[in-house]
């Protein structure tokens, strides 16, 4: 059955680089490899500027950004706010609590109100998968996905890629990444998987079967039966945050068992290649998905990830400003 024919109103793939909405950043799945590499290159420059205190270097003139956070996220929000300051954008922030959302206004109407104030870029964090795509479909403003449900978190994916670019000397082809933990509920994992595959790395995922999504192999990953198997010979490992409510949902028997079977500890990490690195999107449950000595150990690049987060968000905002300039030209 030809679904393209049967489903003529289906929007075209809507990531940055997709033909219909090249200006939004909704995910890494549809981002073209060239765009992705260019963003990483730009991010590295922004990071260097930050390190040498040469900020701001370039001001995207007149760009107004609204951080619309419908879900709590301290680190992502601060990271975006810093990036907006560094690129010289005009910034406003919005959080759902106490807002019109709690009075029953729909997400789209709320976003339209914000956009009507001539906001150029809307950074959206929302608990619903597809919320960023939903807004991109109906708004003139550029939408940057700051994390949508369990779908994607593209700036997190980019910062992971920038971190790995450093760790792997810029070579992704043939590298092996292990992602361990709650794949089913992780937007971080999906963005990382899409990005890494585009750049030529292979990915092995591991975790309790209750936390692996259906047909996870369709994402282009290999599934290992144990954390040990996933980590064996890997060039990098990413531990995903385990949330306590997974126990209440009956997906896990106990945090203790999870730590024993799937936690990144020193013994497991030693199975990786000698220069392999350990990552975590934070916030960490020390002693659950990652042992304290691994989190603070010499393989850990967790704080590099945080630094890189600001840099990639600078690059993304600069890219948005470029889209606006092109549109205005």
């Amino acid at each position: 059955m030809n679904h393209a024919r049967l489903h003529p109103h289906a929007p075209a793939p809507s990531g940055a680089g997709a033909s219909s909405h090249p200006r939004h950043l909704l995910g890494l799945e549809h981002l073209q490899r060239e765009t992705l590499l260019a963003l990483l290159e730009d991010a590295a420059k922004w990071r260097e500027r930050a390190r040498t205190r040469e900020l701001p270097c370039e001001r995207p003139r007149g760009v107004t950004v609204c951080n619309a956070f419908f879900e709590d996220s301290t680190r992502t929000r601060i990271s975006f706010e810093l990036a907006e300051q560094r690129v010289g954008a005009t910034r406003v922030s919005f959080s759902a609590s106490g807002s019109s959302v709690s009075k029953g206004e729909t997400l789209l109407d709320t976003a339209r109100v914000i956009a009507a104030m001539n906001v150029d870029v809307l950074v959206v964090r929302h608990p619903s998968s597809g919320s960023a795509a939903h807004l991109a479909r109906h708004l003139d403003a550029i939408v940057v996905n700051g994390g949508d449900g369990t779908h994607e978190h593209p700036t997190q994916g980019l910062l992971d890629l920038l971190t790995l670019r450093d760790a792997w000397d810029g070579r992704f082809e043939g590298r092996r990444m292990a992602i361990v933990g709650d794949i089913a509920h992780s937007r971080v994992a999906r963005s990382a998987i899409h990005g890494l595959r585009k750049l030529g790395a292979t990915i092995t995922v591991a975790g309790p079967a209750t936390l692996l999504p259906a047909e996870v192999e369709s994402l282009g990953v290999r599934v290992a039966h144990s954390a040990d198997e996933a980590l064996e010979g890997a060039d990098a490992a990413m531990a995903l945050r385990i949330q306590r409510e997974r126990m209440e949902c009956g997906l896990l028997p106990s945090m203790g068992e999870y730590a024993r079977e799937w936690g990144l500890n020193a013994e497991r990490v030693s199975r990786m290649k000698p220069h392999a690195v350990v990552m975590h999107p934070g916030p960490m449950n020390r002693g659950v998905e990652i042992a304290p000595d691994v989190a603070d150990g010499e393989r850990s690049v967790i704080f590099d990830q945080v630094e890189n987060g600001v840099a990639v968000r600078c690059a993304v905002l600069e890219w948005c400003a470029g889209s606006l300039a092109k549109a205005a030209a």
Binding site: H7, G130, L219
Partner: protein, 453 residues
């Protein structure tokens, strides 16, 4: 024509003649005369001009009994922003339907005699087709206490269903089947294990994984289908499995058939037309319950229709407002409209590819559903009610939701090129829908002389 009347020798009013239609089963070209809501004569067509009060030129079109949809949400009482009995039945007429059975999950729910009567009265006032109310199985659809089934049936309910929700308790379902057995009316089972469904919004599989949407396994449906087949064996009750969508549920129905149980089943056009891929990029118009499944389930749906496992076809017409569907995927309600696309999707998806003959396809929307619910049969014979549809099975058209008579525009088929549509619908001899292209001559235009043939 109308010889009995002709012998009376004078002008007789109220006669409508359909000229030159193709009989849906035999393929013969016939003229049909109707008066007082019933067919009064059927004979091989003659090319001579016929004089009557109303003459409908039907040449080249297929005449069949009016279609019946056993699974429709008319949303009234209480949710008239979505649909009303007037608009829903108008949409039904446009789709070629002369009768619908409406689900009781309205607001308030149809769980007492007063609401059954209210629906019937409202349909009599504002309806464009026959409306057969379905009453709930349990009070308030809470799954706890049985409704007064005998009284509801006496008031006019043709079946019982908590549709929109399953009867989760096997014990309550057992009691419902036992209690309703003397009535002979089916319990229409919305098969869904809520614990397996969880907070799912689409089929569990690769697409849901990619989109980050929580999935609903097909077993959420099939384990309940198997349960209710087993309960039919225990109780000898009358079970009708609603909107089946997956291979394992069809197996349950086959199993019931082999055991000789009193179990029937239905499926809907979207399950043979589409798969989970139609969700595309979070298209809420492809969000329905049960959800669109994988390709092997779509193929199993076609197989179950072809081999007779499925007893009849329904639409599960579930209108929602534009604003309700224009939300994030998880926030949008389940359901699509179907009355105005049903016959086209049947011709396009089943007849055109050669899975079914046109006659069999029509039967699945006419005689078959009437059998399943025990409704009076309609035929193209003298004495039968003039509940008829004139179909144009070859006509190609484009689905334009904005042109729907239904208030609901929520369809994933918008813009699709389809084949086959209802050109004219008559219910009780009254024209309830006609395309502009249908030539209808009235009064003086026809000479209004009865019995000219």
């Amino acid at each position: 024509m109308v010889r009995g009347l002709a012998r009376e020798g004078g002008r007789v009013s109220g006669v409508t003649i359909l000229q030159g239609a193709r009989h849906w089963k035999s393929g013969a070209t016939i003229d049909v005369a109707m008066r007082d809501g019933a067919i009064v004569e059927v004979r091989p067509s003659q090319s001579a001009e016929i004089k009557s009060d109303t003459l409908i030129e039907a040449a080249g079109r297929v005449l069949a009994p009016g279609l019946v949809d056993l699974h429709v949400h008319l949303r009234e009482p209480g949710q008239t922003s979505k649909e009303s009995i007037a608009t829903g039945t108008r949409a039904a007429a446009a789709g070629g339907f002369t009768a619908v059975a409406c689900m009781p999950n309205t607001n308030p729910v149809v769980d007492n005699v007063a609401w059954v009567r209210w629906v019937l009265e409202r349909a009599a006032e504002s309806g464009h087709c026959r409306v057969h109310p379905i009453a709930v199985v349990t009070l308030g659809q809470k799954g706890e206490q049985l409704a007064e089934m005998h009284a509801l049936a006496a008031a006019g309910a043709v079946a019982f269903s908590d549709d929109g929700r399953p009867v989760m308790s096997a014990a309550i379902m057992r009691r419902a089947l036992e209690y309703s057995r003397p009535l002979g009316l089916p319990i229409v089972c919305h098969e869904e294990d809520l614990t397996l469904k969880g907070d799912g919004h689409m089929n569990e599989g690769a697409v849901a994984t990619r989109l980050g949407i929580r999935g609903i396994p097909s077993q959420a449906e099939s384990v309940m289908a198997w349960r209710d087949v087993d309960l039919a064996a225990l109780t000898r009750g009358r079970v009708h499995l609603a909107h089946l969508s997956c291979a394992s549920s069809f197996e349950a129905l086959r199993h019931a058939r082999r055991r000789g149980l009193n179990v029937t089943g239905e499926t809907c056009p979207h399950y043979w037309m589409l798969t989970e891929e139609a969700v595309g990029d979070y298209d809420t118009h492809a969000k329905m319950n049960p959800p669109l499944r994988a390709e092997h389930d779509r193929l199993a749906t076609i197989e179950a229709i072809v081999d007779g496992t499925i007893d009849c076809l329904t639409t599960d017409h579930a209108p929602h407002t534009f604003e309700e569907k224009r939300q994030t995927f998880d926030a949008a309600p389940f359901g699509i409209v179907g009355l105005e696309t049903a016959i086209a999707l049947t011709v396009t998806g089943l007849v055109e590819p050669g899975h079914l003959s046109l006659a069999r396809a029509i039967e699945l929307w006419t005689d078959a559903p009437r059998r399943v619910f025990g409704l009076p049969q309609v035929s193209l014979e003298v004495g039968s009610p003039a509940d008829l549809v004139l179909l144009e099975p070859e006509e190609r058209w484009t689905v334009e939701p904005a042109a729907f008579y239904s208030k609901g525009r929520n369809t994933p088929f918008g813009g699709m090129q389809v084949r086959g549509r209802a050109a004219l619908t008559m219910c009780g001899g009254r024209i309830t829908h006609a395309l502009p292209a249908v030539v209808i001559r009235r009064g003086a235009e026809t000479g209004a002389a009865v019995g000219a043939m």
